[in-house]
Amino acid sequence: MLMLLATIVLTTVLKPAAMASDVNPLSPSVVIIHTMDDETSYHIPYCTVKVYDESYKLVYTLNSGAAGVCDDITPADYSRFYVTARGIYNGVTYFGYETESSGTGIQEWYIRMYPQAVGGVVVPVDKFGLLAPYTGLYSAILVATVATALYVKRVKRRKEKQ
């Protein structure tokens, strides 16, 4: 069974190559053409990437669990391969992703790049965790109260005995 979650994320900054003349690099979207050649492994530095700006970053997420470094990745299972890309063109941050890029031999991906939206993600907060320090505080107060009550009771009993 394929692992659903990403196991390796490798980031490399790819050097710019010649601009493809058949693709319009202008907004709203930028297409990058990404070619890799190797039968059994992906050699990122040797792939050909046609981009329009030198600051494109490719983030590879392999689901194989294979270890690797950015200059020589040999995933044990590369039948499913996720790639996301991020780059800046004319001051605008673009991103794109491609899934299911599979097979052997020369790989060519056409990744449509979208300008990064001015959004974000909401991260759920553990409300019990937020209360933990208060719980500690109230527990301490409770312990102090009980201890004081017991102490007072003990002193009273002792006085009564005398």
């Binding site: 991103f95 959004g119 102090a144």
Partner: protein, 279 residues
């Protein structure tokens, strides 16, 4: 007789020893109580102490007849656009507005909190925004204040503040506080007075919660996007909107309609500008 004296002496010794033990126990108990008091004071100070409201501009005169506008440029941290800031400021100052500009890290929870009481006619929120989870989730407006689970605890428990991240591919994840509609309703100081809010971030009008919260708080109108939007498009559209709204003194509906005609929906996300409370 001698044996009895000896017996009494032993009893006294035992009593003295017990007394000593009792004193030690009392000392330990008092030290324990003292520690708890110190511990409690420390927690009370740390968790209940809130920073004082940020002073926006000590030299501003709240009774000035000149209209005031504020630009929250939290986006300057990720999508800086000085041209936008200059153009927007020029449009506003030409129309006799006093403009207050807050960039990146200056956009804090307390700055949001103090907004209604400051008497701005126009508020431009150039901020990231994110939708929560679930059915019809509210939108959260980013601050630049790093998230902490020990700050603003009551607001976090009451769904007024939430933890958010940019979610930009290839960037290290940092968490920030963001405000939810409940914060606008219950934690903002004072009431808006005839204020127009332009929320430039994503999904401001995906659902109505934030718009309704601002209107309920006294805002005249709330303008935002009905889906995701790119930084370049929201900047371009907002400049056009300000021109129509401020320079040409069009109504909000007219200004939005003309702006949409000029710039169109966002080319990538197809979002359009919407408004609530506008005529």
């Amino acid at each position: 007789m001698k044996a009895k004296e000896k017996h009494v002496g032993t009893k006294a010794q035992i009593r003295a020893m017990k007394e000593k033990e009792r004193r030690i126990a009392t000392a330990i108990f008092l030290a324990f109580i003292l520690l708890i008091v110190i511990f409690s004071s420390y927690f009370t100070y740390n968790f209940l102490n809130r920073p004082q409201n940020q002073t926006i501009n000590p030299t501003s005169n709240p009774e000035s007849p000149q209209p005031k506008a504020i630009i929250f440029d939290q986006l300057s941290l990720t999508f800086p656009n000085q041209t936008f800031v200059q153009t927007a400021t020029n449009i506003l100052t030409t129309a006799n507005y006093t403009v207050y500009y807050y960039e990146g890290n200056q956009v804090t929870v307390d700055l949001y909190r103090s907004l209604p009481a400051r008497g701005y006619s126009l508020i431009v929120l150039r901020v990231h925004a994110a939708l929560g989870a679930g059915e019809q989730p509210p939108v959260a407006l980013f601050t630049a204040e790093p998230y902490s689970n020990t700050r603003y605890v009551p607001e976090q428990l009451n769904d007024q503040l939430i933890k958010v991240a940019y979610g930009i591919v290839g960037q290290e994840i940092s968490y920030y506080f963001a405000i939810w509609p409940n914060f606008v309703k219950y934690s903002m100081n004072g009431k808006f007075q005839n204020t127009t809010i332009i929320m430039m971030g994503c999904d401001g009008f995906k659902y109505m919660h934030m718009a309704e919260a601002f209107i309920e708080k006294g805002a005249k109108a709330y303008i935002s996007w009905n889906s995701k939007v790119s930084a370049s498009h929201t900047d371009q559209a907002t400049i056009q909107l300000l021109k129509h709204l401020i320079t040409e003194k069009q109504t909000i509906k007219q200004a939005i309609a003309e702006t949409m005609e000029e710039v169109g929906p966002d080319p990538s996300y197809q979002s359009i500008l919407c408004s609530l409370g506008a005529k």
